[in-house]
């Protein structure tokens, strides 16, 4: 399947990034200078020197032989789509459909899906039996509910499928420019595209299908493609057309363009393509470099021309997508067992009945002359009454989730979507979250945040954690003061805490904001920077104030490095002064923007010259703060590229004075190693800043420079050029060596910190989730450093955490010996485990960081268990450099190994496997690309909504569904058993006490509305409280509401109720008269009375379960009871042959009897008494979490401030048990600071 393909690609991809350094400019030289081109346009291909450009040498000779063979038989007539209308070249239109059903298949398939469910099948069985003449109930009364229930479920399926259809429609109706005739391009809908069509795709558009690249806006026929939707990688990939088709770069050229492509048949391998192009009587081999895949996007290229090769369902992207498996929640799976249990109870009952019946038949019944020949064998009744109102409830729940305004993203105008409603309650049982990084936690956008120049840190000194910690300590102090009673000492902060306390107890919506005040600092949402990519505030540097700083030289050099040492280029913007930049990595863009803000604007780049618009502090002061702005040209002599092994990048430039500088930026450790002795002035201070930045999760780069003597440069340059021109495997090594020669004796300038910008609210969300006891694993394709940075930024990691790193050493990796690698990993795991055992007692949490290669080994058979054991014991786990396949694999393993409910969240196509594998898959819909969303069960516009989705809605839904299911069980046991008891009194003949329609109405109308109200609207605590006490969420993972003991308890409760109802009725109403006029109860009146008792009992029972009464609950519960009387009256008013046993039963017979009403009262009270006593005992002596919080919330409302203090304190106490998350970090910090403080006092 696709996974193999993805995997194999991934290995390649890794290789390619490692070799970035090697990709040099030669390739580009092909570009002939004769072609017309705008002046000043830079060769993009030169700047974006990606390693996958080792193209021209690629000769897929062996593969070419295959063409025309089976599996490689596709023929495409380019620009002649009409030839594909007839066989054998008839290929599908570019129409895609992801719907499960169509109009024709809907009925059979949906029915099949329905009856795969145990409950429905059981129902069906009952209905089929009812068709046999033996059954006691009328056919309609069994079939109607079945049709009702199945109908609702099918309706739900249909609605969900309809949404999928609409989504498809949207995609299918996008337009693209397609060639009509004579070089004219017209808009065409995606779905109308045919194989052979020539299309023109503009910048930032998606490719409508798999295209063969013919030419691009670049004269050398390259284009840049973003494949985030396919593999989740955010870096751009380069595609390159054949040289022979380069000339086709104008609309007019296509008037007479004709070519034939012979290639492989449609397949799901994203990274292979075999084919050849017959163009102008020549055959040219094609490679994946010419194939533009559907769902990827054209970037940084104005337009491309391409021919549709695969369309619609033949495209590789569509072939790759798997139908999302239908998932079922734990509760639902358990419900199957309950149904089995009930079914076996039923069988037992039936067995008893039939045995009894046959025994009686043998011995006694012959004598019952009034029955005449009682020789037919009777099948005892089947109480077909387990209804699946659940589906309806779940759909309504999903609707409410979708409608929640708290989870509405104003920016994207998107809200949460529950795409399948089956899993609502599963949301309340999640124990482990597996999260993707890019696009999920981060926005894939860098911001310049802080810098340290010449040993002085700019942009704020303290870390967020410090701030929050000091604030918290302050608050603690105040709270303490208060409890002592020194309330006369009123300080301002006291007032603040007091104020928030009041609000918290009132439970108003602002509580959230106030209670989280400490944390909200962390979110930079309010202080959103105006300039994208620049979030730096320090008056010492901004607004040209830096010119007054003492270390002016360092500062100017620092900015120069920032402005020159990169591979980006500027793009003209609408605004006059400011430029936008495009660069290989978002970091560089951030640096360029920052330098622009500091008035070192990088404005032009040609092949060899870079122009800066500099602000000249040495120049004359024209006016106050108006200095001369000068343009400076720097000659770019060499560019030593960044690579993952070098971890640094340098440029060698000479300024107008001919002075040669080497400007270098890179990872701090690397730079520090290469400093000159006189360049270490600021090393110490900088190191301190570095660690601060790192703790905040910023990505840091150190900047340094050196002045190179002309002679030295000449000497070095010859060596370097020689290395560059070397062809062969050792080339890379030579280049690296050459670079080393000059990148030494550097002078440290400082470090810059950029933030991989987290999405809004991510740290708070993770904090809350951690408090709710959830484990969060980060699975990312990024490199380790990035992953760790993000770990810090999200508070998944912190400084005092014990980190275990699992990775393969270089030798092992290169040797590629599985056994050695395995041993190495095993060794590492064992060591870590040892450490863990030793330090178990200490509070320090553990973190595990593992990279993809090590991962692959760790997931092999024998190492797997030990690895998972270690991983599960760590507070946070970060997996970097993992492939999509590994993501899916780890998800499955964790799910299987721990048996816990897992939730996977991601945004890209690379997360699809993980999303489908996890118990719940969540897709982020904020970004473009729908694959993850399509595969997901829930889609969120932003990660932060996960908090509310899980902690509020998950908690509610879990409670609701489990309460509801238990109530179902209870209700049907209570009702069904009365039928059985009556059997005992009818010599097992199968006669039913109630009228058929009573029984039908039971689940359909008379008891269903309260259940729906319970399932949709029940709240044990309000959403605010859920969020304030995330620990409440633990009820779900611990499954307190749906334990077997509970289930059995409810069944027993049902048994008791049924016994009370039945026995009380028959003993009270028989045999003497029940009315003053001497009438006795017959089967119809006894049935109606008993049934009344049941309706009352089950409806009052649900009133006891419900803890949240809105008018809807009241209406449904009391309305249901009223409905029964109305039903009885109306039904009884029908002519006798229609109304059967109910004829005039209420009006004439039971209604006027006082005993009827009194029996109802007595029976209801008695049958509810056991449950009532149970909850009273439970509440009084063994209360559950939600009980206490309910009490705290609703009983202390009116009380004074002391209780408000307790409210807050409890809220804080509830947070203490976690180990990850921002709050935990703050706590840890406080502990450290306190110990330091206490030590100091001792010392004093």
């Amino acid at each position: 399947m696709t996974i193999v393909g993805i995997c194999s690609f991934f290995v390649e991809g890794q290789g390619s990034t490692a070799e970035e350094g090697a990709g040099t400019c030669e390739v580009v030289e092909i570009a002939a200078s004769t072609r017309r081109r705008k002046m000043g346009m830079v060769r993009w291909s030169k700047l974006y020197s990606f390693a996958c450009l080792r193209t021209s040498t690629y000769e897929p000779s062996a593969a070419q032989e295959l063409i025309g063979q089976p599996g490689f038989s596709r023929v495409v007539f380019c620009n002649e789509p009409h030839r594909h209308k007839r066989k054998p070249y008839k290929y599908p239109y570019n129409y895609i459909s992801t719907t499960k059903y169509n109009v024709l298949t809907f009925l059979p398939r949906a029915l099949f899906e329905q009856f795969r469910r145990v409950a429905n099948f059981y129902f069906l069985l009952a209905a089929v039996l009812s068709l046999a003449s033996l059954a006691p109930l009328s056919r309609a009364s069994l079939i109607v509910p079945l049709v009702f229930v199945v109908g609702i479920s099918m309706l739900k399926e249909a609605v969900e499928d309809w949404h999928r259809f609409l989504q498809d429609l949207n995609v299918n109706n996008r337009t693209v420019k397609a060639h009509a005739s004579n070089g004219e391009f017209v808009d065409k809908l995606w779905k109308e595209l045919r194989v052979g069509d020539v299309v023109k795709v503009n910048k930032d558009e998606y490719f409508p299908s798999d295209l063969l690249l013919l030419s691009s806006s670049y004269e050398d026929g390259v284009c840049y493609v973003e494949t985030m939707n396919l593999d989740g990688e955010t870096n751009l990939k380069i595609k390159r057309s054949l040289e022979d088709t380069l000339s086709l770069n104008e609309d007019e050229e296509f008037g007479r363009f004709k070519a034939t492509v012979r290639c492989e048949d449609p397949n799901p391998n994203l990274y292979t393509f075999v084919g050849n192009l017959e163009f102008e009587n020549e055959s040219h081999p094609l490679s994946p470099a010419q194939l533009l895949l559907r769902d990827s996007k054209l970037r940084n290229t104005d337009y491309v021309y391409g021919v549709v090769i695969f369309s619609g369902h033949d495209t590789k992207a569509v072939r790759n997508s798997t139908r999302s498996p239908s998932k079922r929640s734990r509760v639902e799976r358990k419900m199957d067992h309950i149904i089995y249990l009930l079914f076996s109870m039923l069988l037992l009952v039936s067995l008893v009945s039939s045995i009894g019946s046959s025994l009686l038949m043998k011995h006694d019944m012959d004598d019952w002359w009034y029955l005449q020949l009682p020789d037919d064998n009777k099948v005892p009744d089947l109480e077909g009454s387990d209804s699946k109102k659940e589906d309806l409830v779940k759909v309504l729940q999903a609707m409410l989730i979708n409608k929640d305004i708290e989870m509405y993203d104003e920016a994207a105008c998107k809200s949460v979507q529950a795409r399948t409603s089956n899993l609502n309650e599963e949301l309340g049982q999640v124990e482990m979250i597996l999260s993707d990084k890019t696009g999920t936690l981060t926005c894939n956008q860098m911001e310049f945040r802080k810098c340290s120049i010449a040993g002085i840190s700019y942009g704020g000194d303290t870390t967020e954690v410090d701030l929050a910690a000091s604030k918290r300590m302050n608050a603690d102090f105040e709270a303490c003061q208060f409890s002592i009673g020194e309330s006369d000492r009123i300080s301002q902060s006291f007032e603040v805490s007091n104020f928030s306390a009041e609000k918290a107890v009132l439970g108003c919506p602002e509580v959230q904001d106030n209670a989280n005040k400490g944390i909200s600092r962390l979110s930079r949402t309010e202080e959103e920077s105006v300039i994208k990519g620049f979030n730096f505030r320090d008056d010492r540097l901004m607004n040209k104030n830096w010119i007054h700083r003492s270390s002016l030289l360092e500062i100017t050099m620092f900015f120069r490095v920032m402005a020159l040492c990169h591979t980006g280029i500027p793009i003209e913007d609408d605004k006059i002064d400011k430029l936008r930049y495009e660069a290989e990595s978002p970091e560089e863009v951030a640096f360029l923007i920052a330098s622009q803000e500091f008035e070192f604007q990088f404005c032009r780049r040609t092949q060899s010259v870079m122009v800066l618009k500099e602000f000249d502090p040495s120049g004359k002061e024209v006016e106050r703060y108006h200095f001369k702005v000068i343009f400076r040209e720097y000659k770019l002599l060499n560019l030593l590229e960044f690579s993952s092994s070098r971890k640094r990048m340098s440029v060698i430039v000479s300024n107008e004075d001919g002075q040669i500088f080497l400007l270098c930026k890179g990872a701090d450790s690397i730079i520090f190693d290469r400093l000159a002795d006189n360049g270490r002035t600021y090393e110490q201070a900088t190191t301190l800043h570095l660690s601060n930045y790192a703790e905040d999760g910023f990505r840091t780069l150190a900047f340094a420079y050196r002045i190179v003597e002309a002679a030295e440069y000449e000497c070095w340059n010859t060596a370097f050029t020689k290395a560059k021109t070397t062809v062969g495997p050792e080339r890379e090594e030579l280049l690296e060596k050459a670079s080393e020669m000059i990148e030494k004796d550097l002078i440290l300038l400082g470090v810059a910190a950029v933030e991989d910008k987290l999405q809004k609210g991510v740290p708070e969300c993770i904090d809350k989730l951690a408090q709710a006891g959830l484990k969060i694993w980060l699975l990312t394709g990024d490199k380790r450093e990035t992953a760790i940075n993000i770990g810090f930024a999200c508070s998944l990691l912190r400084q005092d955490m014990k980190q275990f790193h699992l990775s393969l050493s270089r030798e092992a990796e290169s040797n590629n010996q599985v056994k050695a690698m395995k041993e190495e990993i095993l060794h590492q795991i064992e060591n870590s485990y040892k450490v863990m055992c030793e330090e178990r007692n200490k509070e320090a949490p553990f973190a595990l960081v593992i990279d993809g290669k090590a991962f692959e080994i760790a997931l092999r058979g024998d190492v797997k268990d030990e690895f998972l054991q270690l991983a599960v014991n760590c507070a946070s786990v970060i997996c970097c450099r993992v492939s999509p396949k590994q993501k899916a694999l780890i998800t499955r393993l964790v799910k299987e190994y721990t048996g816990k409910t897992t939730l996977a969240i991601g945004d890209g196509a690379n997360d699809v496997g993980m999303i489908q594998e996890a118990d719940i898959g969540v897709g982020i819909s904020g970004m473009e690309g729908m694959q993850a969303v399509m595969a997901s069960d829930f889609s969120l516009p932003q990660f932060r909504f996960l908090e509310r989705l899980l902690i509020v809605h998950g908690h509610w839904c879990y409670q609701r569904i489990s309460k509801m299911v238990l109530y179902f069980v209870y209700k049907n046991v209570a009702f069904g058993l009365t039928l059985f008891y009556f059997e005992l009194y009818t010599s097992f003949s199968g006669e039913v006490l109630y009228d058929d329609w009573y029984m039908t109405m039971f689940n359909v109308l008379l008891t269903s509305l309260p259940v729906i109200a319970l399932g949709v609207l029940e709240q044990d605590v309000s959403s605010d409280v859920c969020l304030q006490f995330p620990a409440l969420y633990q009820q779900g993972p611990r499954n307190v509401h749906f334990k077997w003991s509970r289930i059995i308890g409810w069944i027993l409760n049902g048994v008791v109720s049924s016994l009370v109802i039945f026995l009380a009725n028959i003993y009270i109403l028989s045999p003497s008269a029940y009315r003053q006029n001497g009438y006795v109860a017959d089967i119809s009146s006894l049935g109606a009375i008993t049934y009344t008792c049941i309706i009352w009992t089950v409806n009052c029972q649900i009133a006891l379960i419900t803890s949240h009464f809105t008018w809807i609950q009241h209406l449904s519960i009391w309305g249901s009871i009223l409905l029964w009387y109305i039903f009885l009256v109306l039904y009884g008013a029908l002519p006798p042959y229609l109304s059967g046993k109910a004829f005039h039963v209420f009006i004439e017979e039971i209604g006027p009897a006082p005993l009827y009403w009194m029996v109802t009262l007595l029976v209801v009270i008695v049958s509810l008494l056991p449950y009532f006593i149970h909850i009273v005992i439970q509440r009084s002596f063994n209360p559950m979490d939600d009980h206490i919080i309910q009490e705290m919330k609703y009983c202390f409302r009116k009380d004074d401030v002391t209780d408000n203090q307790t409210w807050i304190r409890e809220q804080r106490n509830s947070q203490r048990s976690t180990r990850i998350g921002f709050s935990a970090r703050v706590d840890a910090k406080i502990v450290i600071q306190r110990t330091v403080a206490s030590k100091e006092t001792i010392n004093l």
Binding site: D404, I1175, S1180
Partner: protein, 336 residues
């Protein structure tokens, strides 16, 4: 939902908005000890008086129950009661003496009670045709009446097992040689007479030939006036049941002796069923049945006891309301 919709909703705070945001005003009752004790006390105070009142009503009912199925078989036939009852040649009349213990005020209801008689057997219950009872022979589809549908190729009216097995013991009551006035009208539900049994439907071909079960019907009286049949056709729910026979419309004094002359026609001997004659007055509650009163008193007193128990428990092991130590995080820290 579009953006403007949301804004509008936010502004107006309509009920629908509150519903979708799950923020409808709600009451959240919390079971506090005070509530619990109040509820128990309340239950107790409702049910004990109710029980006492109903017990009193039940006790005020005077009931005479006399089993007669064995006594009414003459000594020599007691070995084989079945053959006795099936032998038409033997006269079935029989006399019973009922002694009245307490003053019984008219109307005194006369019931016959059958035990171990499964009128609720499915086969039995189904074997009737409501349409035929209402419309007579005009209604042909009487297959539900099988096996008592046709006799001698002619339809039976009323058809079915229930009608066929009509109870046919008869009773006359004599006090001091004067026959007591027994009203046998209005013993069936009015709705049955008016709507279920046709006024123009007369029994025909009933209990003819070999198909003889229970009582016979006068073919000249329409079904709507055959109240014995109507009562019998109301099948009982339990295998032991009473059916109304009539009302004595004279008071009976204490120590009166009532001579009952009965025709013991009905065969309960083949299945060992008992036959009883019941004379009973009635109260506002109906007949004599202490069960309800006792149950009420029991429930009432046990909830009083529960109220006291809970009160004591609450005093002894009082858990402060909204007890913080019970919260999971605090508990955890206690256990270490």
């Amino acid at each position: 939902m579009t953006d403007t919709d949301r804004v509008r909703h936010r502004d107006t705070k309509t009920a629908f908005y509150l519903f979708t945001q799950q923020k409808l005003p709600a009451c959240k009752p919390v079971l506090t000890p005070a509530w619990v004790i109040t509820i128990f006390l309340f239950t107790g105070f409702i049910f004990i008086p109710l029980g006492l009142v109903t017990l009193r009503a039940s006790r005020s009912v005077i009931e005479i129950v006399e089993r007669y199925d064995t006594e009414c078989v003459p000594e020599p036939f007691r070995i084989d009661k079945v053959s006795y009852i099936q032998d038409d040649s033997i006269p079935k009349n029989c006399s019973l003496f009922l002694k009245v213990h307490k003053y019984m005020k008219a109307p005194i209801y006369i019931y016959y009670q059958l035990d171990n008689y499964y009128q609720n057997h499915r086969r039995y219950v189904k074997s009737r045709s409501d349409q035929q009872l209402l419309n007579g022979q005009k209604y042909q589809a009487t297959s539900s009446c099988q096996p008592v549908e046709f006799n001698n190729a002619r339809p039976i009216v009323p058809c079915g097992l229930i009608a066929w097995s009509l109870f046919n013991d008869t009773f006359t009551f004599i006090r001091e040689r004067a026959e007591l006035k027994v009203n046998r009208k209005n013993i069936a539900w009015k709705s049955d007479r008016d709507h279920k049994f046709g006024k123009n439907v007369y029994p025909s071909n009933f209990q003819n030939g070999t198909l003889i079960g229970g009582g016979k019907l006068n073919p000249r009286i329409p079904l709507s006036d055959q109240e014995d049949l109507i009562v019998w056709m109301r099948t009982s729910a339990l295998p032991s049941f009473r059916k109304l026979y009539g009302r004595i419309e004279e008071d009976l004094d204490a120590d009166d002796v009532v001579l009952v002359q009965l025709m013991n026609n009905y065969n309960t001997y083949s299945f060992g069923g008992k036959k009883k004659l019941v004379l009973s007055t009635s109260s506002w509650l109906g007949g004599k049945n202490d069960f309800f009163g006792l149950a009420c008193v029991f429930v009432g007193s046990s909830s009083l006891i529960l109220a006291i128990v809970f009160m004591l428990l609450h005093l002894k092991f009082q858990r402060p309301y909204g007890d913080k130590t019970c919260l999971p995080w605090n508990r955890k820290s206690l256990s270490g």
